[in-house]
């Protein structure tokens, strides 16, 4: 037993918290025209976290804070991707929020706190830590959605998000209390060992599990708990949608792995949650893909597409085994890459007083800018899962895992609905390439956004041609952490 806490596994979190407070205060003394300093400090903070995480050595999982916090390879990888995701988000969002009067200290500190919430969730080894991280994330996001105070749509979205989010949190807490009652512990590794010793015949345990899975469904945005997703995606300022739609899924994935796999992964219980996930996965695929066809608003369409992607993610998890979890992790990483690009593209086309969020705003993009049209083409084909883009390997890895697990029918369902999904992604390509431009305003983003968006789009192709490094990374981090 160590009497001095090893703090180093949590250095990135501590650093981020300290810097968030510093930025909060420093921002008070900055004049409006120097707001760029806040932006720069935020980016530096995230880069600092990345360095700290990069150099942390997590060969073996390390527990600290009396087993409430864990640092392992999976958490490192997910956190690093989170930092890069948030850095990218800030670069993409900069022009957009400047033009809409949101380029203020609040935006950056809230972003940092939300990021902290993500990191805590990723590293949680205790139900309370998990909940703490989740609430930190959610509360920051509620505020960020409502940041445009004059917009009635944003306020409505924030309200809806808050009410449903609180409901989901309540369910989670209720489920957690049941688990506590059944096992006598809140620590995830202890829960697992208690269940392993006593068996899983406890009805209370299964009862709690139902609430946990429902809560997870809410947070992931999987059907039938998906109702908030389209409204929030649509109502929130696109810069915030970009955040909500991308990096939190990484933490949600960690959440599922920690809670269901590490905590409740005993075979008998696994059977229970696998069934529930299977239902959610199939429903998500159906609802997401079919409803997306009817959308004319790109943000809503991407919301439904997210739902269907979560269906795929769940299929990977319920396939089980290292292979299944690794494929799921690969899927979520790829999803983040794609959704960053897709929302980035909406931000690119938006300008002062104009939100390029309708499908028609993408008409004739090939005439306006062949390069961005090409990037968007890559992103859309990747989302549809057409080779040689990385989206194909994400779907392929999941399908491979589920076939290995013996559920071929799920693979067939997934395949059929990704065909349905291909239609609405194709429609965007059709608008960009086959139709004439309506909007002819020049597209002139900042150089850093231009570069990053290009890298983002090309990464979809590059990882599609050489998927091995990313696949191997996911496989090894799952292997090292379970």
């Amino acid at each position: 037993m160590q009497y001095i806490l090893p703090l180093w596994p949590a250095y990135p979190e501590i650093f981020l918290l300290a810097m968030a407070c510093v930025i909060l205060i420093a921002d008070l003394f900055l004049r409006e025209e120097n707001r760029g300093v806040t932006y720069l400090l935020t980016q530096l903070t995230l880069s600092g976290c990345a360095l700290l995480t990069w150099f942390a050595d997590h060969g073996e999982p390390v527990h600290t804070f009396s087993g409430m916090f864990v640092g392992d390879l999976m958490s490192d990888v997910l956190k690093l991707i989170t930092y890069f995701g948030v850095i990218t988000i800030l670069v993409y969002a900069r022009d957009y929020i400047t033009l809409r009067g949101m380029f203020r200290g609040e935006f950056f500190t809230l972003t940092l706190f939300a990021t902290l919430g993500l990191m805590v969730m990723i590293s949680a080894n205790h139900l309370l830590t998990l909940y703490l991280g989740l609430e930190l994330l959610s509360l920051s996001l509620y505020a960020m959605v409502a940041l445009q105070r004059d917009s009635s749509m944003a306020t409505e979205a924030a309200m809806k998000y808050f009410v449903l989010g609180a409901l989901a949190s309540g369910m989670l807490l209720y489920g957690m209390s049941m688990i506590y009652g059944a096992t006598g512990s809140l620590e995830i590794t202890r829960i697992a060992s208690v269940i392993a010793d006593d068996g899983a015949k406890n009805v209370v345990l299964v009862f709690g599990l139902v609430f946990l899975v429902a809560g997870i469904g809410f947070k992931l945005g999987a059907a039938p708990f998906h109702m908030w997703l389209p409204d929030v995606y649509h109502g929130a300022p696109t810069a915030v949608t970009l955040f909500i739609g991308s990096v939190p899924k990484l933490a949600a994935f960690a959440f599922v792995i920690r809670l269901l796999v590490q905590g409740l992964g005993v075979e008998e219980i696994q059977g229970h949650w696998q069934q529930m996930l299977a239902v959610m996965a199939v429903l998500s695929l159906i609802v997401g893909n079919i409803t997306a066809i009817a959308q004319t608003n790109l943000k809503r369409m991407l919301a439904y597409s997210t739902i269907s992607h979560m269906g795929f993610l769940l299929i990977g998890i319920l396939a089980g085994g290292l292979n299944g979890y690794a494929s799921s992790m690969f899927y979520v990483v790829v999803y983040v890459l794609m959704s960053l690009g897709a929302f980035g593209m909406i931000l690119l086309l938006s300008r002062h007083g104009f939100e390029a969020e309708n499908l028609d705003d993408f008409k004739g993009l090939n005439q306006r800018s062949p390069w961005y049209a090409f990037l968007m083409l890559l992103l859309m084909f990747s989302m549809a899962g057409v080779p040689p883009t990385v989206g194909f390997y994400a779907k392929f890895a999941v399908l491979q895992a589920i076939v290995e697990a013996g559920h071929i029918w799920l693979a067939v369902v997934a395949v059929i609905f990704s065909l349905v999904g291909a239609f609405y992604y194709l429609r965007i390509v059709k608008l960009m390439y086959f139709d004439d431009a309506v909007d002819t305003a020049p597209i002139a983003p900042r150089a850093d956004m231009q570069a990053l968006l290009s890298v983002n789009g090309l990464a979809v192709l590059a990882f599609g041609i050489f998927p091995q490094p990313l696949l191997a990374l996911c496989a090894s981090s799952i292997l090292a952490s379970l």
């Binding site: 057409v386 194909f392 071929i408 390509v429 086959f434």
Partner: protein, 496 residues
């Protein structure tokens, strides 16, 4: 000698040049785009010549094999190799690409760089399909062909191009996605390998084989296309620009036939035997019924599209009667159809560029104003009808001979195409070319220019050579066909 990775070059040279062409950007540099595209296409064709000359017709198995680790996590390799059948298709593909680039030279004025690049990339990717020996690599190339063709039909196509392109994409995607599930199943059944060669030796029960057969069937039958999943083809052909139709008919349809040959037959031989009757039935329906449908078309492109389906019926018929003649005939038919249908679509393109209509009724008496063109068109129409001395005859005749060994009635029904094919092709020819000059537009027509003469002339030579002296083509595929037949004749049911 094998130090030069010829197959990789055949795949990546066109793709590389395609990217280069894209880099020339807007239409201000259209001329540069055309020149670079032509250089790329010609280089792509030249690189296939040493492959041809260095290919040994007596060795069985695959030649020019390249194998690199690609995705170790899934044991997927960049595994390429070539047998006689692939070689012919690679040659056909690279050759057609040159013609298509030349054929689109002045005709395409809008977004030239993207047009040329799409064809080059498509050509490289299709070479990839024909050379892949790893199932996942095959699948990736197979699917990747959809993107350029989708763009080609959608941007440069006719009035209903959007409908046609989306129909084309979704139809073919549905089929191939199901085959992906089958491939993943085979990956586990073969003990964790995606190599086609390993799949060939994997024992499978009949029930499993039947499922896999149908999954592959969905992918390849849609591509061929076989009746009743052919309905995307007339739409796609009618709306596609001339170059798109040529590539679609000449090469993309062959992906389906090639898929049956390379995957279905050797991997699930017992299911292929069990379902041969079904396949032959569908093939004969295509030959007879679609031939009749072609007879009543009023749009030239649609007529040729239906005639394509009918001719591809011969390919599937030849494959599923399981004798050497049938299979060789099927392969020859694929190649010959590539030249003939490509040439016919180019002929229609020549007329369309001048008159902007494809309706047979708008023409008449073209021979009076375009005599040289009429001569070429005559030759290709005859080839399409299967006249002896042209390439069309060789393939069809060999398949009919093979069918005769299997069952007289198969051969009888297949042979009706010699009547129907002649009827619809020559009747169309008569209405368009002969008679009095129909209207003043026809009277103003100018005969083909040098560029068109070169394109059609080269094709005419190939069609005649192949018709008179098919020996070199048959020799190339002889060993490969018997390899595949030996797989098909060897039951893979697990030993009790």
């Amino acid at each position: 000698m094998y130090s030069l990775k010829l197959l990789s070059l055949a795949i990546w040279i066109p793709i590389g040049f395609g990217v280069l062409v894209l880099a020339t950007g807007s239409d201000r540099n259209a001329h540069a785009a055309r020149v670079i595209a032509l250089i790329g296409a010609v280089l792509g064709f030249l690189i296939t010549l040493p492959i041809y000359s260095g290919f040994s017709t007596t060795l069985g198995g695959f030649q020019y094999v390249e194998k690199l680790e690609w995705i170790e996590a899934l044991n997927v390799n960049y595994h390429l190799g070539l047998d006689g059948i692939s070689l012919l298709l690679v040659l056909l593909n690279s050759f057609t690409t040159v013609l298509v680039v030349i054929a689109g030279w002045e005709i395409i004025q809008k977004r030239v760089a993207q047009y040329m690049a799409s064809f080059l990339i498509l050509s490289g990717v299709m070479n990839g399909v024909f050379c892949a020996l790893d199932a996942l690599l095959f699948y990736v190339f197979f699917e990747a062909t959809l993107i350029p063709m989708f763009i080609i039909i959608g941007i440069w196509g006719g009035p209903r191009r959007v409908y046609a392109s989306i129909k084309f994409f979704l139809y073919t995607l549905l089929g191939s996605l199901l085959s992906l599930v089958a491939l993943i199943y085979l990956y586990f059944a073969s003990g964790g390998s995606f190599s086609l060669l390993d799949f060939y030796d994997t024992p499978l029960t009949l029930a499993v084989q039947v499922f896999i057969f149908f999954a592959f069937f969905m992918a390849f039958a849609v591509k061929v296309p076989m009746w009743p999943v052919h309905t995307w083809l007339p739409d796609a052909h009618v709306e596609a620009p001339t170059g798109g139709s040529v590539v679609l008919a000449a090469i993309m349809l062959k992906l389906g036939g090639y898929g049956f040959l390379r995957l279905s037959l050797p991997i699930v031989p017992d299911a292929s035997h069990a379902l041969a009757g079904f396949m032959i039935f569908l093939s004969l329906v295509a030959v007879v019924y679609i031939g009749l449908v072609a007879l009543v078309q009023t749009d030239m492109k649609k007529l040729i599209a239906y005639s394509s389906i009918s001719h591809m019926g011969f390919v599937t018929l030849g494959l599923f009667i399981f004798n050497a003649q049938g299979m060789e005939g099927a392969v020859i038919q694929m190649i010959s159809h590539g030249f003939v249908s490509g040439a016919l679509f180019l002929c229609v393109g020549v007329l369309y560029d001048r008159m902007h209509t494809r309706e047979i009724g708008d023409y008449g008496g073209v021979v009076n104003t375009m005599p040289v063109f009429a001569a070429f068109f005559m030759l290709f129409a005859m080839a399409n009808a299967g006249l002896p001395g042209t390439s069309g005859f060789v393939g069809e005749f060999t398949v009919i001979l093979g069918a005769m060994q299997a069952n007289f009635w198969y051969a009888f029904l297949a042979a009706t195409t010699l009547i129907f094919g002649a009827a619809y092709t020559l009747w169309m020819y008569k209405r368009v070319i002969f008679g009095a000059v129909a209207n003043k537009h026809v009277a103003e027509l100018k005969d083909i220019n040098l560029r068109e003469f070169v394109v059609l002339g080269v094709l005419a030579v190939v069609v005649l050579v192949m018709g008179v002296w098919p020996q070199p083509f048959a020799e190339l595929i002889h060993t490969s066909v018997s390899d595949i037949l030996s797989h098909v004749m060897h039951s893979k049911l697990p030993q009790q």
